[in-house]
């Protein structure tokens, strides 16, 4: 397991492209460098590689080699990742609850006992 230096992690996160890369990785679980480059439009492939290396040194992402390809994923132990995952769960959870509330209201006989005290 990687030991993460929080200062290093924060410096790594100070760059908007690196935050974008992290957000992309948070969605796709594991991506190759090429797949990531295709999703990050504001810089070229070489720059993405450089950013990936900074993120890896900071312990925020993990690298897996398979043949001549390298795959990247968010390091689940990284402190920024914990926060990103927390937010992702928080926002997805909010929509899940809206879905439950909207669909239960459509079921016949619904609409009783759901009103919360405020």
């Amino acid at each position: 397991m990687l030991i993460v230096a929080p200062d290093l992690a924060f410096d790594a996160l100070a760059d908007p492209v690196r935050r974008e890369i992290l957000a992309a990785l948070a969605e796709c679980e594991e991506c190759s460098a090429g797949e990531l480059s295709a999703r990050i439009h504001r810089v070229g492939r070489t720059a993405v590689s450089t950013h990936l290396s900074v993120l890896r040194t900071a312990g925020l992402i993990a690298e897996r080699r398979s043949g001549r390809f390298r795959y990247y994923s968010v390091n689940p132990t990284g402190p920024a990742q914990e926060v990103i995952r927390l937010l992702q769960d928080l926002f997805q959870g909010s929509l899940d609850e809206v879905k439950a509330a909207a669909e239960s209201a459509r079921e016949p006989g619904a609409g009783t006992g759901t009103k919360r005290d405020s």
Binding site: P16, V83, L87, F91, S94, L95, A102, K115, S118
Partner: protein, 483 residues
Amino acid sequence: MTSGLFLFAEQQVDAPPEQIFALFGAGSGAGWLFDAHCDRVAAGSVVTLSAPIGGSGVPPVDILGRISRVMPPLRIEIVHELPWRGRLRVLFDPADGGGCRLRLFAELDEVGLAWLMRRRGSPLAESVRPGEHLVGLLTSKSGPGGVFAAATENLAAMAVAEVNADGGIRGRPVHLVVGDDATDPGTGVREAQRLVRAGCRTIIATTTSATFARVSAALPAAGVLLVHSLMNEGGLAAPLRVQFGERPYRQLLAAVGSMMRLAGKRWFLAGNDYCWPRVVHAAARHVLNEKAGAVVGESFAPLGSRDFGPLIDAVLEARPDVVLSSFVGADLVAFERQCHARGVRDQARSLALALDEPTRERIGDRACIGMWGVSGYFEQLDVEENRDLLRRYRRAYGPFATPVSSISESAYEAVHLYASAARRVGTDDSAQVARELRRGSFAFPRGTVSMTAGGGMGQQLYLAEAVAGGFSVLPATEHVSRR
């Protein structure tokens, strides 16, 4: 927002967009986001989102924001400043078969990410450039104090930008290091210690007196200059402890006579249970006694209370003419909204010393009617320095930023007063800067302020009636001449 982290969530819902849209703000058990607390689903309306960030068993974190755009039933956008700066966009797209594709886009900046990481226990260090002059700002980005402190960071940052545009402090740019006390004295001490470790030799605090007193005791008496900029009860006299801000006794002298003429002599004192409200009530008993008024009841509730039912029962039973409300922040909001709902306003006016612009708008345009505030600054003050401040504030932070108040404007002043004193003495020596902070008169958006040898500040106070959209400020001469 310039750059930030983007997050995305999506859900297919088997209900039409109109029906899902109607759940927003309805309090019908639709989760933390759609159960947003707001009086109106309209652009400009304030909104509170109680986000369960710590998971179950941990109190939710209140995200304080404002609806910035509404297109029923297709889109709602919210911008928020606390605890982190961000934007939420909810899109409702009609889908085949009468359903809806629901999408949520969330943005936050690196400051917000750092706040969340610290809240989760990561000991992040502040990134500071060599040669910077560090000044700490200890404020409340979370907890009940977030309501009154929401604009303090904006205004402190504005003052820092102005100081830096004017050459910084002897050529060195000022860098503001911000700490969040979470409206909790213990957290305040830990955050103040973090600011000191980062290199701050001066900390400006816009927190409750409870936090300020604890931080003052915890930090060494020598070495760190502590400035309490907002309204406070004073009493911490020490060479490196400076307390600007309105004092309760002077606020009450400026308000009680008018409130007695307006409403009556029977007063109920109700407030949060910590040092400032207790001093407010002691001062109120003194002033009321002098003016032949009567205290018909007194009650306290811990900071962070949300159910004021029993307390309001006691108020209704005592039948006062005036409720002196010394609650603060989100507690003041909850107490006054419940007073309004219970009909307290039908029989009594409310005077709240900590009633300011951001608190008033969260109490709401309906529930704030019958309330009065008294302080040295209101946005409506017709002074050139104030008009200019508000123009620059809106240019920098946009139409949806938290309104300016006496509390947040005090942070703006404190940065300028500190920079001015540090420039005048020509050294960073805290003791010399602190001595210099006790001298001089300055023209600020609130008018002329005069520093006193005791480390306080003389200023004109105004009595103001809460009205829909803001305050109606009484001319300063009115209560002075009628005293």
